[in-house]
Every structure is written in structure tokens, then in C-alpha cells.
């Protein structure tokens, strides 16, 4: 059982964004999608979610073409935490988390005790239970990110996709969110996240997919992907690396070249 992208090509406004991209998200793995700005990471994520239509190629959800699934059935299988966690009305945290149950509800259905239990558990796991009655508009960025993860978790979907879930969070919340994502993978979910923090990507992810200019440059275990050569080619940077207590660390250190400028 996997969520697969096969030979995906995406062109938006005559710009080719993805060229022959293939990717597999098995259950129980935390996959990090990395690459410089504009490499096509978000577009790939959106294509996998069915939000962007590929020109060619297939998305296979448990072996079945994504377009053969109804929107509701897809939503029960794949949940999504959008970048920046937008919320357009001042709604309380419990209500926001409960929206994650919508794939399982008919238009008129109310939240039932089983839903309530799931919502409660998700808020405990993401440590936002104490915020339950606060308006999301009054939360900090880190608290919001955790609320959105709780919302994505209550869908009980097999796969979870998150677009830059730790962007602009403080170190505590970055680690907290990564811990939650890793534990979700350990529980058997297939988790795909877009990341910019190479240190955390290398530490937490089971596998990394490095994208560059709409193509996959490397993928596999973090140590095989985050090589000096790949970092130079994709990011035009040199990283400093060291070992401590058997863990390997990496920190972007200096610019090694200039990105290609396309008009």
C-alpha cells in the first residue's frame, strides 16, 4: 500500500514546472521533500493531493488512479496541512480541529462522541488541549502549526502531506512538530513533508527526495542524498558536517556558486 507519483509532468502557464517526476510514499515512512525555492516541491505536493492536474503521468493511491477516487474518499485517505496554516475566521481551536472530521461526515451530520474522542486525542498528541477554547487568530505561529497538525490527524488518513510545516517556527516548535510527524510515521502513516531545514531533514526523515529545476536530483536515505556534490548542484552551497555521539550533523555554511538565471 503506497501513494505513488509516476512520471509526472506539470506545465503551468507554458512553464514546465515538473519534468518526469516519480516518487513513492510507503506507509510507515517519513519522507522529506527538499530542494531550492522554485524547484517544484509544492507543485509536486499539490499534484499528489489532486489540487494540480498533471499534463501526463499518474498518481496512484493504493494502486488505483487518483482520479477514480471521489473527493470524499480521497480525503479519507490523504490529509493535508497547508503552508502557513490559513484560518479565515476567528474560530476556536476545538472547532478548527473538528473540521478535520469533515471527510467522514454527511453535510448535515453533527460531531458525535467518537469524533469528540479523536479530536481530544489529537489535541493531546499535539499538545494543544490547553488552547481548546482559544481563538486561532490569537495563537502564536507555533501553536497554530500544532493545531493544524491536530486537524490533519483527526481525518485518520493513511497519508499525510504537509507543506513547510516548520517554516518560521522557533526551535522548540520545530522540534515538537518534527517529533509529532515522526511519531505519526511510526504509527504507520505515510508522511510527506516539504522542508527547507536540511539539519532537521537529515535527522528526522527516513528518506529524502532532493528536487532541482523540476526534476528529482537524488533520493534515498539522508546520508546518500545530502552529499557535498548534491548540495552544490542543487543549492549552490557548501555545508559544514560533523559527528557527535554517532549522529551526523549538517549545517549550511557558505555559498559555493551562483544559481542559473533564467529570463
Amino acid at each position: 500500500m503506497t501513494l505513488d507519483a509516476r512520471n509526472i509532468h506539470v506545465t503551468i502557464n507554458k512553464h514546465q514546472i515538473l519534468r518526469d517526476v516519480s516518487l513513492s510514499i510507503p506507509k510507515g515512512k517519513l519522507i522529506g521533500l527538499i530542494g531550492p525555492n522554485g524547484a517544484g516541491k509544492s507543485t509536486l505536493l499539490r499534484t499528489i493531493l489532486g489540487l494540480t492536474e498533471p499534463q501526463s503521468g499518474q498518481i496512484l493511491l493504493d494502486g488505483e488512479e487518483l482520479s477514480n477516487w471521489t473527493l470524499k474518499e480521497r480525503a479519507k485517505k490523504i490529509s493535508y496541512a497547508a503552508q502557513g496554516a490559513p484560518v479565515h475566521w476567528p474560530l476556536d481551536v476545538r472547532h478548527i480541529v473538528s473540521l478535520g472530521r469533515i471527510p467522514h461526515m454527511d453535510p448535515w451530520q453533527k460531531i458525535n462522541p467518537l469524533d469528540d474522542q479523536l479530536i481530544h486525542q489529537a489535541m493531546i498528541k499535539t499538545d494543544v488541549l490547553h488552547l481548546a477554547d482559544r481563538l486561532t487568530t490569537t495563537l502564536s505561529g507555533g501553536e497554530r502549526a500544532c493545531v493544524m497538525l491536530a486537524r490533519a490527524m483527526v481525518a485518520e488518513a493513511d497519508y499525510l502531506c504537509a507543506d513547510e510545516p516548520i517554516a518560521s517556527l522557533d526551535p522548540y516548535h520545530q522540534l515538537q512538530v518534527m517529533d509529532i510527524l515522526r511519531s505519526l510515521a511510526k504509527e504507520g502513516h505515510g508522511v510527506l513533508i516539504v522542508l527547507h531545514d536540511l539539519t532537521l531533514a537529515g535527522r528526522y526523515c527516513d528518506e529524502l527526495v532532493l528536487m532541482n529545476q523540476g526534476q528529482i536530483l537524488a533520493n534515498g536515505p539522508p546520508d546518500n542524498v545530502l552529499t557535498a556534490e548534491n548540495l552544490d548542484r542543487a543549492y549552490h552551497i557548501k555545508a559544514s558536517r560533523w559527528q557527535e555521539n554517532g549522529d551526523s550533523f549538517l549545517s549550511p555554511w557558505k555559498i559555493s556558486g551562483r544559481p542559473d538565471r533564467k529570463g
Partner: protein
């Protein structure tokens, strides 16, 4: 002040019934409350029955239908557009409905065929609805739809001005202005037969969009990944609102501010979840319009006060008060 949604719905329903009865009670002829009740169940003298069922009841029913349409579509549109400033006017149907009516008055059609104003106006509303549904079926964003609505609205307003500009005589011009200010005077069951099916049809289209609107508060992408078909949601909200508001305007004239202010009133009572606002907003809209219609008949108005003027005068200060009270939470 906070109240649970079911309690609010109950409270609003009771208030609406009381106000509707009060509205039936007030009129030139003094009819005791008991006789009104017996007239409603078809058990009173013929003259009383005529006054109640043919003169006063259509006015009360139309007021309720109009207010409910405006409140409901205001709440639905604000939810869809995720914008508390949206009101049924933004989709342009009010203006095209007004244009239809003004053209009918210009041509003097109503002297030969009394219902021509309503029918022309309905035609205007349906034309705008048709254009909007064409645009929304092309996978347009909500922003495109709203800009299209503004374009339609501006064009229709320009055409209204042009028509007024060339009005054949002052009487005709006055009729146009009076019609545009909105009224429930002298409405009959024929008006209800004409507009009722469209109004109720619009309500039925809007029925059940609440879940989609709730999901949309997380943004369109997230709503779609929660299993909501956004294209269908957009079509339902836009077309449902257009049909019910268009039909409302065609029989009552342009009535401003109800659709904008009512969802805010309801929000201050039960919070911001857009799906929860729909039914209470319909009831609150009906109440507000029934109250405004009562005010137009108050002695100080000398029978000249128009409905749209009252709703704007009651609505705007209320609106200012509410946004002042909720300034901390609206960000």
C-alpha cells in the same frame, strides 16, 4: 453575549412569529387579534378575511421571504468569499433586477400590464444569474466571480442612470426612484406566486452548503482536500443567492444592508463558523425586514417612508456598533 445555536433559532422563530402577527394587526381597519386568528384559519367574516388574507398577509409573507433571502444569501456569500464585507449586492443581481424594473417603468408597460415591472425585473436578475453561472462553470476563482459581479453591477447601475436620465416625464422618474428605494406596499398574492417559487428554489439550492463553507474557512486548497467539491459549492452559493435575491428585488425593490449586517448580528451571538450562521441569518433577516416594514407604517413616516431607506438607517448604525464591539477578534 453567547447563546447556543438551537436556542437562538428557537428564540428567533418565536420573535418572528410575534412580529408577523403584530404586522398583521396593524393597518387602517381596526381588527381585533381574535378575528385575525380566525381569518387565518378561514373562519371569519368575508370582509375581515379579505383585509387579512389579501391585503395584509401578502405583505407580511413577502417581508419574511425577502428578509430571509437577504440574510441567508448574505451569510452564504460572506462564508464563500471568506470576507465579512460581502453582501448580496456584490454579485450584481440586485442592480440588474433594478435595471429591469426601471426599463419597464420607462416604457410605461405597467399601465397596460400591471405585473410587467416584476417580470422585467426578474428577467434582469435571471440574466445576471446566467452570466455568473457561465463564468463560475469555467473554473473561475472566487475573486474572478466577485469582480465579474462588480462589473455586472456597475454596468447595470450605469444603465439605470441612463434610463433615468432620459425618463419621459417627472412622474415616471419619481416612480423609478420610489421603486428603487424598496417597498412592500400594496403587494398581493400574485407577487408571491410570481416570486415565491424562485425565492424558495434559491433557498433549496443553498440548503446544505454549510459544511462546505465551514471547510472553506481553512482556505480553498484545504477545503478540497477535506473532500469538498469547490466548483459545486461556488455554483450553489452564487446561483442560490442570485435567484432568491433577484426574485426578492423584483417584487420588493432594492433593499440594502440587510444581507450585510444580519450575518454580523448573528456572529456576535453564536460565533464565526460560517455554516452555523445560515439558518439564524435567514430568521434574523426576516425579523429585521418585518421590523423595518412596521417602521415604514409608523405615523411619523406619513405613509411616504420607503423600506430600503429604513433598513439602511437601522442597519448602518447597528453595523458600526457591531464592528466596534468585535474589533478585537476580527483580524
Amino acid at each position: 453575549m453567547k447563546i447556543s445555536p438551537p436556542n437562538l433559532i428557537l428564540l428567533l422563530s418565536i420573535s418572528l412569529c410575534a412580529l408577523a402577527f403584530l404586522s398583521l394587526f396593524i393597518g387602517a381597519a381596526d381588527i381585533p387579534a381574535r378575528d385575525i386568528l380566525s381569518a387565518l384559519i378561514g373562519n371569519a367574516s368575508t370582509s375581515t378575511e379579505i383585509i387579512i388574507l389579501e391585503l395584509r398577509l401578502p405583505r407580511v409573507l413577502l417581508g419574511i421571504m425577502a428578509g430571509a433571502s437577504l440574510g441567508l444569501s448574505g451569510a452564504a456569500l460572506q462564508g464563500l468569499l471568506r470576507n465579512p464585507l460581502a453582501d448580496p449586492g456584490v454579485i450584481g443581481v440586485s442592480a440588474t433586477a433594478g435595471l429591469g424594473a426601471v426599463i419597464a417603468i420607462y416604457l410605461g408597460l405597467s399601465s397596460s400590464f400591471p405585473l410587467s415591472i416584476q417580470i422585467m425585473s426578474m428577467g434582469g436578475a435571471l440574466l445576471a444569474t446566467f452570466i455568473l453561472s457561465f463564468i463560475s462553470s469555467r473554473d473561475s476563482s472566487v475573486l474572478t466571480l466577485i469582480l465579474a459581479g462588480i462589473g455586472i453591477s456597475s454596468l447595470a447601475t450605469a444603465a439605470i442612470s441612463l434610463t433615468m436620465n432620459f425618463a419621459k416625464n417627472p412622474m415616471s422618474l419619481q416612480d423609478m426612484i420610489m421603486w428603487l428605494l424598496g417597498s412592500l406596499d400594496n403587494r398581493t398574492m400574485t407577487d408571491i406566486t410570481l416570486a415565491g417559487p424562485f425565492i424558495i428554489g434559491g433557498w433549496l439550492i443553498l440548503r446544505g452548503v454549510g459544511q462546505g463553507l465551514n471547510a472553506s474557512s481553512l482556505g480553498e486548497d484545504t477545503a478540497q482536500t477535506l473532500g469538498i467539491n469547490l466548483k459545486v459549492l461556488r455554483m450553489r452559493v452564487i446561483i442560490g443567492s442570485a435567484i432568491s435575491v433577484g426574485a426578492t428585488v423584483s417584487v420588493c425593490g432594492a433593499i440594502g444592508f440587510v444581507g450585510l449586517v444580519v450575518p454580523h448580528m448573528v456572529r456576535s451571538l453564536i460565533g464565526h463558523a460560517p455554516g452555523r450562521l445560515l439558518l439564524p441569518s435567514a430568521l434574523m433577516g426576516a425579523i429585521l425586514l418585518t421590523l423595518a416594514d412596521l417602521a415604514t407604517r409608523a405615523p411619523f413616516g406619513h405613509g411616504q417612508l420607503r423600506l430600503g431607506v429604513v433598513t439602511a438607517f437601522v442597519g448602518s448604525p447597528l453595523f458600526l456598533y457591531i464592528i466596534y464591539k468585535t474589533r478585537g477578534t476580527m483580524r
